[in-house]
Symmetry: C2
Subunit: 244 residues, 2 copies
């Protein structure tokens, strides 16, 4: 069944008007009509089964029928990625949504060619991926911030898995073995790597765990997907089969 992420509140019987884009998608692209059912979620009120009540020129109106799944969230893990070129950042955001990241933070490092990025477009990609992957929330995409500033404002309880391709760090699974259950963040550097000064600072953070992603050089999108996968397998919701 089609799943849509919406911003409006969801409650039994309260009609829901879709915007132009989603109305068009449902009726013109997917050929749905009055009476057809659609799942919707907003990241707050769980997943609702709804039926199309109106499908007209002014858009689609849905009627919520039943709460299918109460609101739940996956593990509290952020993905922090240095800005890379657009197609790879878009892949990273799509995959972060599928792999259950709670937030994606964009970082500007010394070796980042800080091209601008459109956070609104990345948020739309995150929402679409969340619809497809079945999660009940959409990862928040956070505007680019300089890495130093991000570290200055770090929340004390959050651990940091620092993927350090240059160093002699242990493999991720070894590095995470026995690690505390806590909020985490995973940091992926730019394709040129971190500068020596950045590595030095990162390695000395008391909440940071450096880790290696194997013997080959990985592109930033591959590194992000692999690191998030290993974190979910060691610390997150891939350990058992709990549905997030």
């Amino acid at each position: 069944m089609i799943r849509l992420f919406v911003s409006a509140d969801l409650a039994q019987g309260v009609a829901l008007a879709l915007d132009h884009g989603q109305s068009h998608y449902l009726t013109s692209v997917m050929r749905r009509d009055v009476g057809d059912e659609v799942l919707v979620f907003n990241g707050r009120d769980g997943e609702w089964r709804t039926a199309i009540e109106v499908a007209g020129k002014r858009g689609v109106i849905l009627r919520p029928l039943a709460l299918e799944r109460p609101q739940a969230f996956g593990p509290d893990v952020d993905l922090i990625v240095a800005l890379v070129k657009r197609s790879r950042i878009e892949t990273i955001v799509e995959k972060a949504a599928e792999l259950g990241a709670r937030r994606v933070r964009l970082a500007i490092t010394e070796r980042t060619n800080a091209e601008r990025t459109r956070v609104d477009r990345l948020s739309a990609i995150a929402a679409e991926a969340a619809e497809q992957t079945g999660r009940l929330d959409v990862p928040e995409i956070i505007e680019p911030v300089k890495l130093g500033k991000l570290i200055d404002g770090w929340e004390a309880s959050r651990r940091l898995l620092f993927c350090d391709e240059a160093g002699d760090a242990r493999p991720v699974l070894d590095a995470l073995a026995g690690a505390a259950s806590a909020p985490w963040a995973i940091l992926i550097g730019p394709e040129g790597g971190f500068s020596p000064a950045e590595r030095e600072r990162l390695r000395n953070l008391p909440y940071a765990t450096p880790a290696s992603l194997g013997p080959r050089i990985l592109r930033a999108d591959t590194a992000a997907i692999s690191a998030l996968t290993l974190w979910q397998a060691a610390q997150g919701d891939w350990r058992g089969l709990e549905v997030s």
Copy 2:
């Protein structure tokens, strides 16, 4: 330093003529000239440091100077993927190269919309990714074969990690814990999943280990990258820091 995959034999002092595409890339795109050094590998003779001897209209000639790394191969793991749409198959091939797959086998399953694929183009993508990632071989891309035929011709000693999204399989790391060191293959289904008959057959293969990739629905490219990552971490060359 630039790395190039070539087909010719590599030996001390034996001049090597690059084809038009690689000559153009070196001189016009990367602005290299006579005397500049380039690394080359062919998947048989190791990685050689070479110098540009001629850079003319008829192409580039390289002179091998020294063997930098003797030929070596990563773990013997195949990735078997059902054909999916072109952009995702291309991503899968690029990532399989970075993540150290020895071969990529394309499979046609019951729910595959068996569009044709260009194996020559996928091989070029694999070669380019191998150049960038630093490995000494290029994953072989094997023409699409029906899944049933692939199983009929299975080599007896190869284990199969069967990523089963529909079932109640154990997480990959649990499924691989204590598994024999052997040649392996990882099988990723099409986006519509395996048919019940296919699942039944796969689950009953004596060499197959079913495994789950977490609680969310993954696209085929994400599933391939995640499964290969976990296999490398549990069974392959991500366990230590041996360089393949």
